[in-house]
Symmetry: C2
């Protein structure tokens, strides 16, 4: 059995876990709690201002593990599709300004019911963005979402599928982001984590609650659900990922807690369960 | 593009679609609506009585497309595991008595967090039951459920995984049941339906609503959601399945409608959308 993590040196707070907090509050919370990384969200950064957010993070000595999120490529009209590509270019610039080399891509739903066509278009869009990402020193991390989001959030729903994109795109600036919540159920998980060797750009953790109180905001604190998180970390580390581990929890009940308490609980569970 | 279905000759009412109805009510409803098949549920059959249910169906001239459900193999103790195997043996006998050759297996959650072990145990359990099923002329249809049920309903979550079981079990009395709701999101769907050629024992339809109102009872009437049902039927027919098509919809709102109205709506949508 895998050894527990001994310290918080790889821990990252994904801002969604403390959704009510601004960038400044989240950064100060991390400093207080001894958490060295933060995963930022674009809406929060926009609320604080891009340059100001970058300064706050830098002054605090925190490192930015990733920026969430680009993606959402499919749209009903050519004009909208161009707008979305432009928005992704801005996201790449923002990632560079914030000092992270990883932009997480959530690949959106199909504009109609045609999944194969939507998937092909997503691949084409990522190919279009890659030279731009390379110019900025940013890597695009394709995050497969849980299949229950196939209708409204992501046409990329398995790690195997994301690995296929990476293989075909064959570019140093594209890889995958593995979130335990989205992939834990997959019978091919072990094989596909191994297949992701060398292009894993991020590892996110939380837990799957039984029953699940809400399809979007019913994710669990590590240890409160059924995912074998330590086994999953073992697989990811065997595929030579040793980067930050982001705790990303969408949970209404959690967001009612004082932020400092969330950070204390997540640090404790990170050591005991991940 | 695939031609629409021209008549109701392959339509089956899965009893869950008219949950408030007893076996007798459902059978009479099918006769009135010109629906030739019914998919029965064990709890409903038990409420009416096994022999009585068999008689009602037979007297009405209906055919039973399947019996739901066996499975739920994993359990915390050896005694419970034996009880569950015994219950599956009874389900096989019931299927034979009711005149159907297909028992649908929903393979249950893991008793602990260990998915690989649970999956191995499910395979072992099906192997144990197969000689018994053969004796009764009953085929066991492994139904992969949507991955969002991996924590509480089924450790079998993809058609590829179910096909793997069938290949390894290599027995004429085992196959798969394909439910559009559970598999529509799968990037490997086309390939795995083709791989299921010759061992597809059932085809179920309903629709995926966006947003999904409830994880269990929020399934949609065909045409109300995002699944390309006709394309899916085309794939299943290309894999030479020409048997009954069961409409199985878990939906609280639908269950408020008068049963005859449900049957009329589902027949209309079956012709226009499937």
């Amino acid at each position: 059995m895998q050894e527990p993590l001994r310290d918080l040196s790889r821990l990252s707070l994904n801002q969604m876990t403390t959704k009510p907090w601004s960038v400044r509050e989240a950064v100060e919370g991390c400093v207080q709690a001894g958490i060295p990384y933060i995963g930022l969200w674009r809406d929060k950064v926009e609320a604080t201002g891009l340059q100001e957010s970058a300064r706050i993070v830098q002054d605090a000595g925190l490192r930015v593990s990733s920026l969430c999120r680009g993606g959402w490529f499919c749209a009903g009209s050519e004009r909208e599709r161009q707008e979305r590509l432009d928005d992704n270019r801005r996201a790449i610039e923002e990632a560079a300004t914030l000092g992270t080399d990883t932009l997480v891509l959530v690949c959106g739903p199909a504009a109609d019911r045609n999944l194969p066509a939507a998937r092909a278009y997503v691949e084409e869009s990522i190919a279009t963005l890659l030279p731009y990402a390379q110019e900025y020193g940013v890597r695009l991390g394709i995050e497969p979402l849980h299949p229950m989001y196939a209708g409204d959030r992501s046409v990329i729903v398995t790690l195997g599928q994301a690995n296929g994109f990476v293989r075909r795109l064959a570019h140093p600036n594209v890889g995958v982001v593995i979130d335990a919540y989205h992939v834990w159920w997959d019978p091919e998980l072990e094989r596909e984590i191994e297949a992701a060797r060398g292009h894993i750009l991020g590892f996110h953790v939380c837990d799957w609650l039984v029953p699940t109180p809400d399809m979007l905001n019913g994710r669990g604190m590590m240890g409160d659900g059924v995912i074998e998180l330590r086994r999953l970390r073992q697989l990811v580390e065997a595929a030579v990922y040793r980067g930050p581990i982001e705790v990303e929890i969408f949970n209404e009940a959690l967001w009612q807690m004082p932020g400092a308490q969330i950070l204390s609980l997540m640090s404790e569970r990170y050591l005991s369960c991940v």
